[in-house]
């Protein structure tokens, strides 16, 4: 009986291990074959004016918190509407995933840009973390209380990061800037 339990558990363990390895192998293979342009095409269109409105409600253009009394005037429901609800959050999360992939692309092919690629990756992961908390809160019905903590912070981080990516593209004179602006 003990031997049968052992064999069953070992088979289950191996099947899980191989399944997980295969899943991530396919994911990594897809990612490794991607081109810079192909990755940019994966970005989902987000209304940048609305993102900017949410971000500028909290911080000034410089990135510093706004000292005036009008700061943080948007309440949670207004931010929720501007973001486009859960769908908007998911778009934000997917775009962060693409930014992580862009960082991986830089790391893979341009080792001299390692530091900045790692920084981009960390920022994108930070936003993913905030959005993940919000989605979790939405599923457990605690969205209202968590929204103020995570949503605006995620949007502000996203806003500044994408703005810098756009500036970089603009200055480098890369083709497809208009497409990228539309997507980000």
């Amino acid at each position: 009986m003990r031997s049968i339990c052992f064999a069953g558990l070992a088979a289950l363990f191996l099947a899980t291990l191989i399944g997980v390895a295969l899943h991530y192998y396919l994911r990594v293979r897809r990612s490794a074959g991607a081109t810079w342009e192909g990755l940019l095409k994966q970005l989902i269109w987000i209304d940048r004016d609305k993102i900017e409105a949410i971000a500028m409600d909290a911080v000034a253009e410089s990135g510093e918190p706004r000292p005036d009394d009008d700061a943080f005037s948007l309440d949670s429901s207004a931010i929720w509407t501007l973001l486009g609800g859960l769908e908007g959050l998911e778009a934000l999360e997917k775009n962060c995933r693409v930014l992580v992939e862009l960082a991986a692309y830089l790391q893979r092919w341009h080792p001299e840009a390692l530091v900045v690629a790692e920084q981009l990756r960390l920022n994108a992961r930070e936003i993913e973390w905030h959005v993940g908390r919000l989605k979790g809160a939405a599923q457990t019905g605690n969205l209202q209380s968590s929204f103020g903590d995570y949503a605006q912070r995620a949007v502000v981080t996203y806003y500044f990061m994408t703005r810098h990516v756009l500036e970089l593209y603009d200055r480098a004179g890369f083709a497809g800037l208009a497409e990228l602006q539309g997507a980000l």
Binding site: F13, V156, F160, R171
Partner: protein, 257 residues
């Protein structure tokens, strides 16, 4: 256990394969980047020489010598795994906080999962020392395979690519770890019956020789050359990094009142 011609063939092939692999590691300048892996291969050469000498001069002590040498050998495998992790997860030379936490989490979970499996494995060996060694070896094989898969999953999630040579070393080690789990699980299931144990041992050794061949070929090849980044873009990328860093410092500090 009787040593067959096939065993001798695997022994000789494995031994010369290790020497060839060492030459490749030094010739390609990889020994410095992969110190632990190079140490593991050098130790394997030394282990083969010691075991062969013991087998020729003191055959009765061969089994004991084999198990004694298994302890530092297994320890080196874990060090190689950590070396691979450092190559993958510390692209800038420091552990990112989120990655370090996840890595420790994976290591802790991976250490717990093999416990019930190891407890259920019933090696029908004569002495307590052998029971400990057989169970310990099985535990290490399960843990090692989990850690490789866990690291692979973590790197995919975090968006950290595997550089060519790191990936090749890890693929060989990971594949061999999984084969070790399979062979040891089958062996334990049959109560470590000597005939089954010997056949599965040969299978494991044969797979290891294949892995050696894979490493020799793959590590001899140059990694793909990086694509050229225009100087202007490089400067701008560094400027971007500084800007983003400044922004994040201020964003992390503010709180919605």
């Amino acid at each position: 256990m009787q040593i067959t011609v096939f065993d001798r063939f695997l022994w000789v092939t494995g031994f010369f394969g290790h020497i060839l692999l060492l030459l490749v590691l030094f010739r390609r300048g990889l020994a410095r980047s992969f110190t632990m892996f190079t140490t593991l291969i050098a130790f394997s050469v030394a282990r083969t020489i010691i075991l062969y000498s013991v087998y020729r001069s003191l055959p009765a002590d061969y089994v004991n010598a084999f198990w004694y040498l298994a302890v530092p050998y297994d320890a080196l495998w874990f060090l190689v795994l950590f070396e691979v992790a450092m190559h993958v997860f510390r692209p800038t030379g420091v552990w990112p906080r989120d990655v370090w936490k996840s890595f420790i989490g994976i290591a802790c979970v991976s250490a717990i999962v093999p416990l019930p499996l190891t407890w259920l494995a019933v090696p029908s060996t004569a002495t307590l020392a052998r029971v400990v060694v057989v169970r310990g070896t099985f535990f290490c094989a399960v843990l090692m395979s989990e850690l490789f898969v866990g690291m692979f999953a973590l790197s995919a999630t975090e968006g950290l690519p595997w550089k060519t040579h790191v990936a090749r070393i890890a693929q060989g080690l990971g594949a061999y770890s999984v084969v070790c789990v399979v062979t040891q699980a089958i062996s334990d299931y049959f109560g470590n019956e000597p005939h089954v144990y010997a056949v599965l041992g040969r299978l494991g050794n044969a797979v290891y020789v294949v892995c050696e061949g894979y490493w020799i070929v793959m590590l001899w090849q140059e990694a793909p050359a990086p694509r050229e980044l225009p100087e202007s873009m490089l400067t701008q990328i560094y400027a971007l990094q500084r800007q983003v860093e400044d922004d994040l410092i201020s964003i992390r500090d503010w709180r919605r009142s």
